[in-house]
């Protein structure tokens, strides 16, 4: 589309700026479905700011390509707005409709000034596409904020969910919960080996009660962890093997070689204590022995 068809838009923006902005703000304030998260004063402020930047960006008549430097300020402002409004509890569609609502006052003004001009349709179309794209910018920014949060939380969960606990003198345990993928195994291994050094542990118990599926990859990760523990001079016991997991492992054909396994954490702890020279008795049993 020729640029000169679109230049009148820039002149309308500067000539009738006061009318457009006043009209826009009052339309937004009158909207009954407006969320209460954004106050009237901040709505007026951001409307004015957006209009000013929009006007500056459209000054040279480029309203077709948002990827040019003159639009970067507008996009930046909208991204920031989307993020700050999301924090206040606005939904992404509310923020997008802030931008979309700009169409009405703008088109009314165009209609007033170019009502009989054959280029009106072209101008309206170009503006409509532009404003739709700007509305998408707010949605994308919202999405990106969410993704950042999710990524951070995933990392937190990953680190939180792999504690290494000292169970007894020389005995540490790792309760594994969830899927054991490569990233997870790496963290488990690092934490476990460090703890073994720190407390001079001789036995490490890996509890897989909370691991829903043990496929060949999970098994391979477990075997690697056991080997690394052995290299540190400690022994590993894998506990929490449920009957269905045991059957599945056998059908898969996984050889667990000489890895010590136990059905429950209790059995594993008893075994581990015996290996470091501790025995546990019930009080009644112990008295019997003394007699």
């Amino acid at each position: 589309m020729a640029k000169d068809t679109l230049t009148p838009i820039a002149s309308i923006l500067s000539k009738s700026s006061a009318d457009i902005i006043e009209n826009w703000v009052s339309l937004q304030l009158a909207n009954k479905n407006r969320s209460q998260a954004v106050s009237d004063s901040s709505l007026t402020t951001s409307s004015n700011e957006f209009f000013k930047l929009f006007q500056a960006a459209a000054k040279d008549g480029n309203i077709e390509n948002l990827n040019t430097p003159e639009w970067s300020a507008v996009k930046l402002m909208l991204s920031d707005l989307s993020v700050s409004r999301a924090r206040l509890g606005s939904s992404p569609s509310e923020t997008a409709s802030f931008v979309l609502s700009f169409k009405q006052p703008l088109f009314e003004q165009l209609n007033k000034d170019f009502g009989n001009d054959p280029s009106l349709a072209k101008m309206s179309w170009a503006l409509s596409v532009l404003i739709d794209d700007l509305a998408l910018v707010t949605t994308e920014a919202f999405q990106k904020t969410r993704e950042d949060i999710i990524r951070r939380q995933q990392k937190d969960i990953l680190e939180m969910s792999t504690p290494v606990i000292k169970m007894w003198e020389g005995i540490v345990a790792v309760p594994l919960i969830g899927t054991l993928d490569s990233a997870r195994t790496q963290i488990v291994m690092e934490n476990l080996l460090q703890k073994i050094v720190d407390i001079g542990a001789k036995i490490a118990i890996l509890d897989i009660t909370g691991v829903p599926t043990v496929d060949t990859q999970t098994a391979q990760h477990l075997i690697k962890t056991v080997s690394a523990t052995r290299l540190m001079g400690a022994e590993c016991i894998i506990s929490g093997i449920r009957p269905q997991i045991a059957q599945t492992i056998v059908h898969l054909g996984i050889e667990i070689h000489d890895i010590v396994t136990r059905a429950t954490m209790e059995d594993a702890l008893r075994e581990a204590m015996a290996r470091v020279g501790w025995y546990s008795y019930k009080e009644a049993d112990a008295k019997d022995e003394v007699r």
Binding site: T213, T216, Q217, Q244, Q247
Partner: protein
Amino acid sequence: MLVKSQEDRPICKEDDISIVRSSVKRVVALLNFSLVNQTKIITAASELARNTLEHGKGGHALIQIIDDGTGRIGLRMIFEDTGPGIPDTDRALEDGFTTGNGMGLGLGGARRLMDEFQLESHAGSGTKVSITKWQERL
């Protein structure tokens, strides 16, 4: 053989394997498989989904509830990719044979975990693995 319902899941990245696994988990619980069979089916799905991703360079999984015509209900899963294919399928089914870093037990293991197993592959034209588990007769 009647397909009563079907889900199609893409397998293009690591996360998709967990999505396939949780879809299968939901279906096996719905079909009231025993706990052992549920675990076997989910594990087999996990193995084949990983094969689709790692060896097939991505593809998709079809999770179907089927009826054999006599009212017996089963779960069929079809894993399809358009990757390099398997030149020697007998060899690929041997335990311990692997072209990657795995244990080489995925294909053979999946066959042992399920009731039916079909593998179709030609070098250069992708791989299709179909596995079925029938509901236990009471």
